[in-house]
């Protein structure tokens, strides 16, 4: 049983603010920073850390999507189709989390964190390029106004089964590790399924709320969601994302990505080698 003290709650509130701010600035969720902190620094079991993180993921997804809805960036039909796969993956992940050992989950987290860090380094100089084509969007495609090119971007979804597979894996990772899973879906949707990056990111963020809920419910049912700690984390991350979106405009994204990727690789190594004391 975890002793919930006002001190611990306060630390988690502050950690949430920091994680949310970095997450929003880098376009990642706060979970990738929050889970290692809760587990390594505060010594909470990884399942408890993941459960807390998932509640923050639901809150972030909901508020981000509420703000974006109406800009046509979120592809509702695609999102709702792929949610069938993310929710299934999330259920499987939540159940798997109950069966795997603390060390195994922590190592999986370390691997995931290293992958995210490497992806971040690879996209260091990336520019968002959108091919403005006039295609029939088909059943699942979409269109949105692109302020950068000043035109309307129309796209068609390619390789739908691959998108479903990536969504299932993302759902799995999400509930097992307490992350959103966008880092898996977005590159696949963008690189292989023909979905422009902004639409892929918005649609992924929209789906994440349902994905995280499917996982959080299992942790909640198993008594692994500590209300006071989750409340502190949710409020912290909400405040942090708000701050991050305002500060992020001014901060140098490239330098920040470089620093954070380095930190993440170091943390990943610590997580991988550290056994349960």
């Amino acid at each position: 049983m975890i002793a919930v003290t006002p001190g611990l709650t306060l630390i988690i509130l502050l950690a949430g603010i920091v994680a949310g701010a970095f997450g929003a600035t880098l376009g990642l969720g706060g979970g990738i920073f929050l889970v290692p902190f809760l587990n390594l620094v505060l010594g909470l079991p990884i399942t408890v850390a993941a459960a807390i993180s998932l509640t923050t993921v639901i809150a972030t997804s909901s508020s981000v999507s509420a703000a974006r809805a109406g800009q046509r960036l979120i592809n509702l039909r695609l999102g709702m189709s792929l949610e069938v796969a993310t929710a299934a993956g999330s259920l499987a992940g939540g159940i798997t989390a109950q069966l795997l050992s603390e060390d195994t989950i922590r190592r999986l987290f370390a691997v995931m964190m290293a992958i995210i860090a490497i992806l971040m380094l690879r996209t260091l100089n990336q520019r968002v390029t959108i091919a403005g084509t006039a295609v029939d969007p088909g059943l699942l495609g979409g269109q949105f106004d692109d302020p950068q090119s000043g035109g309307v971007v129309t796209y068609r979804v390619k390789r739908f089964p691959l998108a479903l597979l990536a969504s299932f894996v993302a759902g799995n990772v999400s509930s097992l590790l307490g992350l959103g899973g966008g880092v898996i879906k977005v590159p696949v949707l963008n690189a292989w399924c023909g979905i422009p990056l902004r639409a892929a990111a918005a649609t992924s963020a929209f789906m994440i709320g349902v994905t995280a809920t499917a996982g959080a419910i299992i942790y909640y049912g198993n008594g692994q969601l500590v209300p006071a700690l989750a409340a502190a984390a949710v409020l912290g991350v909400q405040a942090g994302s708000w701050l991050g979106l305002r500060i992020g405009e001014r901060a140098s994204n490239k330098a920040l990505k470089l620093v954070m990727a380095t930190v993440m690789i170091v943390v990943a190594v610590i997580m991988a080698v550290r056994g349960r004391a």
């Binding site: 508020s63 709702m80 709320g209 996982g215 006071a228 409020l235």
Partner: protein, 105 residues
Amino acid sequence: MIGHVAQDAKLERIIRRILQIGVATSSVFLAIGLAWSFASPAATVGSLLMTIGLMILMATPVTRVAASVVEYAVERDWLFVALTSLVLLEIIAGVIAALVFHRRL
């Protein structure tokens, strides 16, 4: 395609409202609950409020899926009624799994 876009614009407005209300209400419950638990850690009121806040938070995405089922049914778009219903069933399966595993039923 025009039909699709118009339908989705309406659903998008409904979803936006659900998400806004869900996040705002849950944040209020969580904030008051947390403040209450700081003020009097022994009282169960704070803990109860925070639990309600988390319930509302988790119910928010579920509600928008349920609203999508209804909206697609109104539009007679049966493929999407089926897909969104499936998502809803998966979430319900999660609730049942969690309850059954821990004999809370």
